[in-house]
């Protein structure tokens, strides 16, 4: 039904970026116009795709008109449509923030790299081919490397080298996993993999388990799961504010990949792998949540605090994912959307503060900052959202997760609620240092940057909408989760049986 | 008009021949494509090769090429003998400055290339004024003989071809 529109979220940003590189290399205004038009168009397209994916079963787009599993396919289902829409929406908001604060003027090619990053992320969400997922991981990664060191700077570059080196280990690992999967199953199409892994002859279980575990390690690096999360704080804290905000969706690509791959290809019903992945995922997710919460209390700067907040979000999401039940997956998806918005908001605020305060330090008393009242209130809102306190979507998300994981209540509830308390303490201490414990000197003046605040309020509004609309949203997500856990429709859409 | 279309006639010929060596087939289609490329590419790369030396006598160049081939084979055998049989202390290596009258860069390049390709002698450097080549001979009991042989055998021919 959506036919060619399915690939639009990939081709559109690619072409816009190419046009920028070709024609608008030195004209920032033209770049901005192209960037915003592109992002806005992408939002419109993604809404249409979301609508289509709601009405119909998963729809497959056969690239090059080659049948699956031989050619590469894109699969539009609710999950991918949702994630594309989330990315498009976030990218548009960040566009406004960037233009509002003039971040893109501090280096070259920001707008082009932003479009490429969106292309990579959308490509990763839409692809139905395992190797193509690797390719688009690399697209979004290399664009993120560029964005991360945008405008240079000593700390940023050092953190950049670490970020790239660690993620290259991840990329290499991804290739090891893909080659193993191909060597064992002989295919790369995800739907075909699902069929073949389910009917894998006995002697192959050891190797497919290795492939599965290597795959989950790759997504664990992307999703910052302990013990593969060390790279994140240094990277996110040193990245430019709006870039770190965009990275909030990048960690979610890791979570998306785990959900997609381990409901479609390695569900617990597969004899060879069984509960292998849940056994790995749950302890790691719990450790991630705790480490993140401790990090929020221990963070010495606001941007590092925001980075550890992002880690807690991933811990929470993966706790829900590790249950591998439709209800838990729906809760995970809800919390994924929430934490993307909340994470992005927190990074934007960290940037607003850093721009107005000599630094983001949480251990030193500084004079009050410009627009302190406004920034303090949005910080308060972001803190509530991220700590999962009412009345925002974080609370609803955590309630959904607690409810979904009732049968492991003593362990999961105490950790989720305990870490929420720790987060509350961390945020209260940070807020108190940033906005209350200020010296008497007058605030240094700073341009109001209305557009930037508009972006911040847009994020807040989206979270409020997510809260108020929690009823219909959770219904939609429950249906999505159920579809994910019964992937027959996804597999059939690939029309595997048909000989060309 | 010919000058503008063929800034490097020798180059265009070479390219035409190279294409056929690549495609290994004598077909009209390839010929048309080869001709087209033989014209376009020299035009495209003209700025990279300003004031090209004009080959005055094409047969001279071809003759020179076969001469070098022969010299390479002969000298190779000599040097092979030195490596296999001559004890290390008997080898008399020597640095030989070879003053040259050639003025066109292409000619100088071909001369130093020839010297290097004929085993036993290697062009190591050129003087800062571009008038003298520094040649290292593997075994040259009589350095002057080597110098004179190079000048007589190769330089005179190149002077006829290029100047």
């Amino acid at each position: 039904m959506m036919s060619h529109w399915i690939i639009a979220p990939v081709v559109l940003p690619a072409m816009i970026a190419s046009l920028i590189v070709l024609f608008a290399r030195h004209h920032l205004r033209a770049q901005r116009i192209a960037g915003v038009v592109g992002s806005a168009a992408l939002v419109a397209i993604s809404i249409a795709l979301l609508h289509a994916s709601t009405l119909h079963d998963p729809e497959v787009y056969f690239l090059g008109d080659w049948p699956a599993p031989f050619g590469i396919v894109l699969v539009l289902d609710r999950l991918s449509a949702m994630m594309v829409a989330l990315t498009a929406f976030l990218a548009l908001i960040i566009q406004f923030y960037v233009i509002g604060t003039g971040w893109d003027a501090r280096g070259k090619h920001f707008q082009a790299l932003l479009q490429f990053q969106v292309m990579g992320i959308c490509g990763a969400f839409l692809t139905g081919d395992a190797f193509n997922l690797f390719v688009f991981f690399e697209v979004l990664l290399i664009a993120s490397y560029g964005l991360m060191v945008h405008a240079g700077g000593r700390e940023r570059l050092r953190a950049g080298v670490q970020y790239v080196a660690f993620n290259l280990v991840g990329s290499t690992l991804f290739l090891f996993a893909l080659a193993t999967i191909y060597a064992v199953t002989g295919t790369l199409n995800m739907a075909d993999l699902a069929v073949k892994v389910a009917t894998l002859p006995a002697g192959n279980s050891a190797l497919i388990r290795v492939a599965g575990v290597l795959m989950i390690m790759v997504f664990a690096i992307k999703g910052a799961l302990v013990p593969l999360q060390f790279w994140l704080p240094g990277t996110y804290a040193n990245a430019p504010g709006p870039v770190a905000a965009l990275f909030a969706v990048m960690t979610k690509v890791g979570a998306y990949a785990v959900i997609r791959m381990f409901t479609l290809i390695f569900p617990p019903t597969v004899a060879a792998t069984g509960g292998l992945f849940a056994d790995l995922l749950l302890p790691a997710a719990i450790a991630t949540l705790i480490l993140g919460a401790v990090g929020i209390i221990g963070a010495t700067t606001l941007s590092r605090l925001a980075a550890f907040a992002a880690i807690t979000s991933m811990g929470t999401v993966f706790i829900a994912v590790s249950a591998f039940t439709p209800q838990a997956t729906a809760a995970a998806l809800y919390y994924m959307v929430h934490s993307t918005l909340a994470g992005a908001l927190l990074f934007l605020i960290a940037d607003l503060v850093a721009a107005r305060r000599t630094d983001g330090s949480l251990r030193a008393q500084r004079p009050a900052i410009a627009q302190a009242g406004l920034i303090a209130s949005v910080f308060f809102i972001a803190a509530i959202a991220m700590a999962g306190m009412p009345p925002l979507s974080g609370f609803v998300g955590k309630l959904l997760i607690l409810d979904a994981m009732r049968d492991q209540a003593p362990l999961i509830w105490s950790i989720v609620l305990g870490t929420s308390l720790m987060m509350m303490i961390g945020f209260a201490r940070a807020g108190s240092t940033l906005f209350w414990n200020v010296t008497a000197d007058p605030a240094a003046p700073h341009p109001p940057q209305a557009l930037a605040f508009a972006a911040v309020f847009a994020l807040i509004a989206s979270m409020v909408a997510l809260t108020l609309g929690a009823g219909p949203v959770t219904d939609w997500l429950n249906q999505t989760a159920t579809a994910l856990h019964t992937p027959a429709a996804y597999i059939d859409a690939n029309r595997l049986g048909m000989t060309p | 008009m010919m000058r503008r279309l063929f800034p490097h006639p020798f180059l265009s010929v070479t390219l035409f021949v190279v294409w056929f060596l690549l495609v290994n087939e004598l077909k009209i289609g390839s010929a048309v494509l080869a001709l087209f490329l033989a014209i376009i590419i020299p035009l495209l790369t003209a700025p990279y090769w300003p004031n090209t030396a004009i080959v005055k006598s094409m047969p001279g160049l071809i003759g020179y090429f076969f001469l070098v081939c022969w010299d390479v084979i002969v000298a190779n055998i000599q040097v092979a003998k030195i490596i296999l049989f001559m004890p290390a202390d008997q080898i008399r290596s020597a640095w030989i400055p070879v003053p040259i009258e050639l003025r066109t860069p292409e000619a100088i390049a071909i001369l130093s290339g020839t010297i290097t390709m004929t085993p036993g002698t290697v062009t190591a450097d050129i003087s800062d004024c571009g008038r003298v080549l520094l040649v290292h001979a593997l075994h040259a009991p009589d350095p002057d003989a080597v110098r004179d042989d190079i000048k007589a055998r190769y330089e005179t021919r190149l002077k006829r071809i290029f100047e």
Partner: protein, 950 residues
């Protein structure tokens, strides 16, 4: 009767919060007016429902929000709700008025009223919630808004710390309660109180009852500052007095009481409830009163007295009988009236005498008669003296205590309750005597006098209530108590309140004893104070900090230690994790060894392998000499390329060798600016550790490779299709190339984008580094050290590269055109062109070559990507998916049949992107050298052999 006004009542204060933060612009009066009006309107709406509720009806509002989870915006109004909502809104209005005059000019009033209204909305939300999850939301909101209110005077350290402590304790309680409420909802099958309150037996029978009870009580006790969670309340006194009056006397601290009352029907009646609640209540009553007796700060005295009275109410709820519940309700009303009045008078005294320290106050009855009158009425009622309302509820409380056996002793509870009453008499009288009696002091800063009408009106009204309810309890309060008690106990109840119960009533004597004892304590206060100072008293604040601060310090040390930027440790941990997980996974499955025949090893291949192995080992050994390790990387790349050619992968050999060359050039340009040697830094143990990790990973990788190579795939590989369809389907015999540009062209599309982005990133970073700044200044002095050979652009190299450039282009075009059928394609062609151009840069120099670069590399990259994209999108015109390629054979006499394939256009895009990307990357890197002070040349070679030359 379904009615949306309840939702409106709850929403109004929140709307008020918004309005006040906006209306402050119109001045402080307007702002106070809006706050007062909004609260008043809410109170009015509530009053409209009062008659129906008092008649026993329960008003309900149902708005679906998250039915799937059971969290809905359901509200209900019953007697209990009415009582509390009335109290919250009523006292709210009074506090708003009082605050208008209390706040100084410098205090931002808009923010104050916004926070107060936020708090008010949250409190009303709690008392009107039918859905317990909704109650939780408002519950945590009270903690959050109290945090803002306590921290209102953010410049005061005690304000900040008090706010954080309150938030931590009440927040933690709230979180515990979430678990409790979820358990309760699960047992009862719904989160709506209207359902839960009917499930008493199911809940009390469930083995999850005790944990739920405990968790809910933690929530209640933390909010109502019951022992052992009472320590945060005094530190909340740092808040402005209206906040203390409103939050810490009338409303917030009563939320816990409200919750116990609301849950009374299902939770109470069990031994656990009785022991836990009654004991906590009693201990808190006694402890609070004792501490209040010796506090010197007026607001601290009042705060601890509040704690004590809340303990009293908790004890009554704990007793579990309907009568006790009714007394609890009655005392809630009475306490609200006299405590709010006292707090306000304390504010007035503080305003007038500029101190709240009882030791520096005295004799104010002469100077502030009105305040004295109000304070004494309220204080005497607090002490429980007739004829005030405090006496009535205290009497009933003593009555209940006397008739309750507690830890199987019938009289102990009575005695302790009397001690509580005795202590409250003590601190009430001490308050009055210290502040108002004794000689009028002369050392007041500026002559204290009664405040304006606005400040004393509110406390006076409350004092009036104290008298009226005391004198005519049945007419003024009984109806409200009955309605609330009915809501609490779940059964109709009518209370009999009277001053005189006859001589035989034990309560009478207990009261007399309490008052007598209280008098004596006041008399002996000086000696008792010294005794109190002598006993070691745990300072709650130090205790709290002793837990939080070291934890925060530990958190920081741990976090910074773990995430200290030690990439090598990160990678070591990651590697070990991956290998361990891989081994663990492998051991869990069964592995049937392979059946493929092993291929033999010819001598040449063996020799190649030996060289490769030697090079890899050598690179580790000499890695500190960076140029040499680059040479060895070149060797490894070479032998892998030869390996690819040997094992029938010509395309790979082409690509590997060309990429190899460009990588070497890149590394060499960068090495010019990096130190030539890697210093010896790792200790031996560290090297062994790293070697071990590397070794384990190597063995794992090798065994995985070996395991794969000797086994066939479990299913026929999909590439069978590619081989079959390569010629007919994609029009090319080179299956690898047809896969790259056609079957999996989408991979290649992504891949050239990666390359394009890489070049853009390198360009952007070069610009950033060359811009004036730190990096740039460091570049300037990097003039190559000392002995540099002459002759920058040797003639032979220039002539050779000039000759090679066109020929290389011919080879490039050849490889581009035949890629479809034989090894080759856009990548390799692009790399060949790039290498040929780079040779010009190496031979004739950067400036000379850049000057001849007519088309910018950016444009080449951009157009390459566009062409590839358009080639892919071209298929849309025919209604075919992206990247569908078409081909047909063209017969043009006299030419032989040749093939036109759209894939070639895509491959052209690939070609241009690769060419542009490689050139942009290397030219950007080269600019560092130019920037570092080398002078550029306009002539191709330095030595001019021409006749006219030097």
């Amino acid at each position: 009767m379904i009615d949306l006004t309840l939702a409106l009542i709850v929403a109004l204060p929140f709307i008020g919060a918004l309005l006040t933060s906006l209306s402050i612009r119109a001045g402080r009066d307007i702002c106070a007016l809006t706050a007062g009006a909004v609260s008043g309107l809410a109170l009015l709406l509530l009053a409209l429902h009062a008659p129906a509720v008092l008649a026993g009806q329960v008003v309900v509002t149902r708005i679906d929000w998250l039915p799937g989870l059971g969290l809905n915006a359901n509200f209900m109004l019953d007697g209990l709700g009415l009582l509390f909502a009335g109290m919250i809104l009523g006292i709210g209005v009074l506090v708003i008025i009082y605050a208008r005059f209390y706040l100084a000019e410098s205090d931002p009033m808009g923010r104050f009223y916004a926070f107060i209204m936020l708090f008010q909305g949250a409190m009303v939300g709690i008392v009107l919630s039918d859905n317990i999850l909704l109650l939780l939301i408002f519950w945590e909101l009270t903690s959050l808004s109290s945090f803002l209110l306590i921290g209102y005077w953010s410049h005061l350290p005690e304000g900040r710390q008090g706010a954080r402590m309150a938030l931590t304790v009440t927040g933690a309680g709230g979180l515990a309660m979430i678990a409790g409420m979820l358990i309760l909802g699960n047992i009862a099958g719904s989160y709506d109180l209207s359902v839960i309150l009917t499930q008493r037996d199911a809940i009390q029978a469930s083995d999850w009852y005790l944990p739920a009870l405990l968790l809910i009580l933690i929530g209640a006790f933390t909010k109502s500052a019951q022992f052992p969670f009472h320590f945060w309340l005094p530190h909340a006194m740092a808040a402005p007095t209206p906040v203390s009056a409103y939050l810490h006397s009338a409303t917030m601290v009563k939320a816990g009481i409200f919750l116990m009352a609301r849950m009374w029907p299902v939770l109470s009646g069990t031994d656990a409830w009785f022991i836990l609640v009654t004991t906590t209540g009693l201990v808190t009553m006694l402890l609070g009163a004792k501490i209040a007796l010796f506090k010197t700060d007026l607001k601290a005295v009042l705060a601890y007295s509040t704690v004590s009275h809340l303990g009293l109410i908790t004890m009554l709820l704990g007793i579990g009988t309907k009568a006790a519940a009714s007394v609890a309700v009655f005392h809630i009303i009475n306490h609200a009236t006299f405590k709010a009045a006292l707090f306000m008078t304390a504010g007035i005294v503080d305003h007038a005498a500029h101190t709240r320290d009882l030791q520096r106050l005295g004799g104010l009855r002469h100077l502030m008669p009105v305040t004295f009158a109000i304070a004494s009425i309220a204080a005497l009622s607090m002490a429980g003296l007739p004829p005030f309302n405090g006496f009535l509820s205290k009497e009933l409380m003593l009555e209940e205590a006397a008739h309750t056996t507690w830890f199987n002793s019938p009289w102990l509870l009575g005695v302790l309750a009397t001690c509580g009453a005795l202590l409250s008499v003590g601190y009430s009288f001490r308050f009055l005597s210290a502040a108002f009696f004794g000689p009028a002091r002369s050392d007041y800063p500026d002559h204290p006098h009664d405040p304006g009408f606005g400040l004393w009106f509110a406390p006076a009204l409350l004092a009036g209530l104290v008298i009226v309810v005391g004198v005519l309890p049945m007419t003024t309060a009984a109806w409200l108590v009955d309605s609330a008690t009915t809501a609490v106990t779940g059964a109709p109840f009518t209370v009999k309140i009277s001053h005189w119960h006859g001589l035989s009533a034990p309560a009478l004597w207990m009261s007399i004893g309490a008052i007598g004892g209280g008098m004596m304590i006041v008399g002996a206060h000086a000696r008792l104070t010294r005794l109190w100072q002598a006993t070691p008293r745990p300072d709650a604040k130090r205790l709290f900090d002793a837990i939080i601060e070291p934890f925060a310090a530990l958190a920081q040390r741990l976090t910074d230690a773990l995430h200290d930027g030690a990439l090598t440790r990160y990678i070591a941990i990651a590697t070990l994790t991956i290998v361990a997980a891989g081994l663990w996974a492998f051991s869990g499955g069964n592995h049937a060894p392979g059946t493929r025949a092993a291929t033999d090893v010819p001598f040449a291949a063996g020799a190649g392998f030996i060289v490769l192995v030697a090079a890899v080992i050598a690179i580790v050994v000499v890695h500190r000499d960076r140029l040499l390790s680059l040479v060895l990387v070149g060797v490894i790349g070479l032998f892998i390329s030869v390996g690819f050619a040997w094992f029938a992968a010509p395309d790979l050999a082409l690509t590997q060798i060309t990429v190899e060359v460009v990588t070497v050039l890149l590394m060499l340009i960068a090495l010019r600016f990096l130190p030539a040697r890697t210093p010896q830094e790792s200790s031996l143990p560290r090297k062994l550790r790293d070697a071990l990790i590397a070794g384990v990973s190597g063995v794992a990788a090798a065994s995985l490779t070996y395991a794969l190579m000797l086994r066939d795939a479990a299913f026929p590989v999909i590439s069978g299709f590619h081989l079959a369809q390569s010629k007919p389907g994609a029009g090319g015999t080179n299956a690898v190339n047809t896969i790259i540009v056609d079957f999996r062209g989408y991979d290649t599309f992504g891949e050239i984008i990666v390359l394009g982005i890489a070049a853009l990133v390198i360009y952007a970073l070069t610009e950033a580094l060359l811009a004036p700044g730190h990096a740039n200044t460091r570049l300037m002095p990097l003039w190559p050290a000392g002995n540099r050979a002459g002759d920058r652009h040797p003639i032979m190299m220039v002539v050779a590269t000039r000759f090679l450039l066109p020929i290389a282009m011919m080879v490039g075009v050849f490889i581009f055109l035949r890629g479809h059928n034989m090894p080759g394609g856009g990548f390799v062609a692009g790399l060949i062109f790039a290498i040929a151009l780079l040779l010009q840069y190496i031979a004739s120099g950067f400036a000379w070559s850049e000057a001849r670069q007519r088309v910018s590399y950016h444009a080449i990259i951009g157009s390459g990507m566009l062409i590839a994209g358009m080639a892919g999108a071209g298929a849309w015109l025919f209604g075919l998916p992206f990247l569908t390629s078409g081909f047909e054979y063209v017969d043009l006499w006299p030419l032989e049949k040749f093939e036109l394939a759209t894939a070639a256009i895509f491959d052209l895009g690939v070609f241009l992107t690769v060419l542009g990307a490689v050139m942009l990357a290397l030219s950007s890197l080269s600019r560092f050298a130019i920037r570092a002070g080398d002078r550029t040349n306009t002539q191709a070679f330095d030595i001019d052999p021409s006749p006219g030359g030097a």
